[in-house]
Symmetry: C2
């Protein structure tokens, strides 16, 4: 995916919606344009990075542009807390502090801004993480779409957890903490008024306590990833690529709520590429799989945790396959550019 | 300024451009809406905050929405580095790491995005601070104005420096590291095609080495502040308010470049309220003033440092006055909502 000598873009090319969707186009933009411009010194731009000279601390940033601002199960405020808390958690870290930066479109009703800020404050309080600093910018009508929220978080790593997308090993069990597809289909259905939003709600929630429950397993936890933009398909492909392994999952073991399946059928979407905001994928050593499942199920947000597959003992590096209900195998591709813009 | 029991806004009020301008409207929005929603636990939302449990570390966040993206002396990329490095520096901290989060409008030429990222990378390298993590979101045409950049920084405090806007003392000397008004007038002139941009350039630059030069003075450095949004008038008013002191400056001692003065005359602007991105105000104990000036002038970015005033031995708390060229006194008010939107 990352050529040694990346081809520069033509100078007349422009940014596409898909460049922000978390799939192949996003990876290309990073590899070809952003990372070369920033120089090699900073290392790879990961979702959460170790702080130089402070290897116990992790930093993560995310800008939230979800449309609409409010949807069943959450809003841009709670999502901005959960998204960053979860990015920290996926590096095995407990959140210490958040910053919040707003870009507000002139004319946004103050009542809506207040709702969002109250939801953000409540989500931060429930997650037990203080908002310590912030910034507010206002731009003229038409220069932004209502409200964008950036959160940046600092986390402290659990002493024994060192998960990384590059640490999957042959034989690992692939665990999933809950059903997929709820966030993306809820936001899309709300935005487009498709009617599914009466039956489903976003799974947006913090996952750091679920990760804390896994902490006693220590080294046996190889990879943690929350399948947000690009869904489970993008998360598994990134892990398979970064760890140079082949991953196989069982279609029948992947929990897809009926309402999500119906919505995806109607929209021609694969639930595997739909964004989630409240579940995680864990790759754990096979001998620790049962203990890890028990730990996940000990928390409400992990009570539906299941084993969905494994890392194959051998196979093409970077390949993700799905064993279908009828026993056939199909390749799960890295999404090109998600069909669902502005989902987070 | 901050009533004990803030009046809530009427529910039909909307966000105004001035709410983001760094003046009284911004303070009201924070005091009445944002801070109550976030609860009292997080403490005040300062530009840079101490990390809970890690008092040697400071965190600061800023979203940059400057228009146009490119202007004489800089662009949104270099500005995003300098702005956050400087916010850290004003808390007496050296930058350890930056995160960068982009919100890109669909259709932005990749060549422009590359220019910005290269400038950002160069500015970070020159400041000696690595970009360790990032995020990219793309929104549809018309949902954002080209490009917004958030940077969040982590800094480590100099051991002896503990500057705070609340630490000004009667008798303090008020120092200014360089001329004012360049950034705001340059951006405005470029945006509106006024022609002044041929003669002036933004002063955007990192100030952490200037602060480092002050570090040996330790406790004698009471306050550091970079007069960005709202200009010198807002910075001095915030310090006077937070420290409960009266501040007086001499008009003839405040360096205003001729081109800035001409532009402000034409536009009906007071140079005191125009944003700067490359100078700082230092309040230092009177006996340390000469040593501080020498330290500031030892660096190229502080070579034009001057003493512009003092904290009065007594006087109305929170009051800032200007002694004019003819010896009269006028009150320097906190700007309501800056006349210059999208200046940073």
């Amino acid at each position: 995916m990352t050529p040694d000598c990346p081809t520069p873009y033509h100078e007349d090319e422009v940014v596409l919606l898909g460049h922000g969707a978390g799939g192949r186009l996003t990876a290309e933009l990073l590899d070809r344009l952003v990372l070369p411009a920033l120089g090699g010194d900073g290392g790879p731009l990961e979702d959460a990075a170790l702080l130089p000279g402070r290897p116990d601390l992790v930093i993560s940033t995310d800008s939230f542009v979800v449309s609409p601002l409010f949807f069943p199960g959450g809003d841009i405020g709670s999502l901005a807390v959960h998204g960053t808390v979860n990015d920290l958690a996926m590096r095995g870290a407990w959140p210490l502090a958040l910053s919040v930066s707003l870009i507000v479109e002139e004319g946004l009703p103050l009542a809506e801004l207040r709702s969002v800020m109250e939801s953000l404050g409540k989500a931060a309080q429930e997650a037990g993480v203080p908002v310590v600093t912030g910034d507010t910018k206002v731009v003229g009508r038409g220069a932004a779409d209502r409200l964008f929220v950036n959160t940046t978080g600092i986390g402290q790593r659990h002493e024994l957890l060192r998960p990384s997308a590059a640490s999957a090993r042959p034989g690992d069990a692939v665990l999933l903490s809950g059903p997929i597809g709820l966030h993306g289909t809820t936001v899309l259905s709300t935005r487009e008024g498709l009617g599914f939003e009466a039956d489903i709600a976003s799974d947006s929630r913090p996952l750091h306590r679920l990760v804390q429950a896994l902490a006693p397993l220590g080294d046996a936890v190889h990879v943690l990833r929350d399948p947000t933009r690009g869904g489970l398909a993008a998360a598994l492909n990134e892990i398979a690529r970064d760890s140079s392994v082949a991953v196989e999952i069982e279609e029948s073991d992947v929990p897809v709520p009926q309402a999500v399946a119906s919505a995806c059928d109607l929209l021609g979407l694969d639930p595997l590429v739909v964004a989630n905001e409240g579940c995680l994928v864990a790759f754990v050593a096979p001998e620790a799989a049962e203990e890890a499942l028990t730990a996940l199920r000990s928390r409400p947000e992990g009570e539906a945790a299941v084993r969905i597959g494994e890392v194959l003992p051998q196979g093409p590096h970077g390949r993700v396959t799905l064993r279908t209900l009828v026993g056939a195998r199909r390749i799960v591709e890295m999404p090109l550019g998600e069909q669902l813009p502005r989902i987070c």
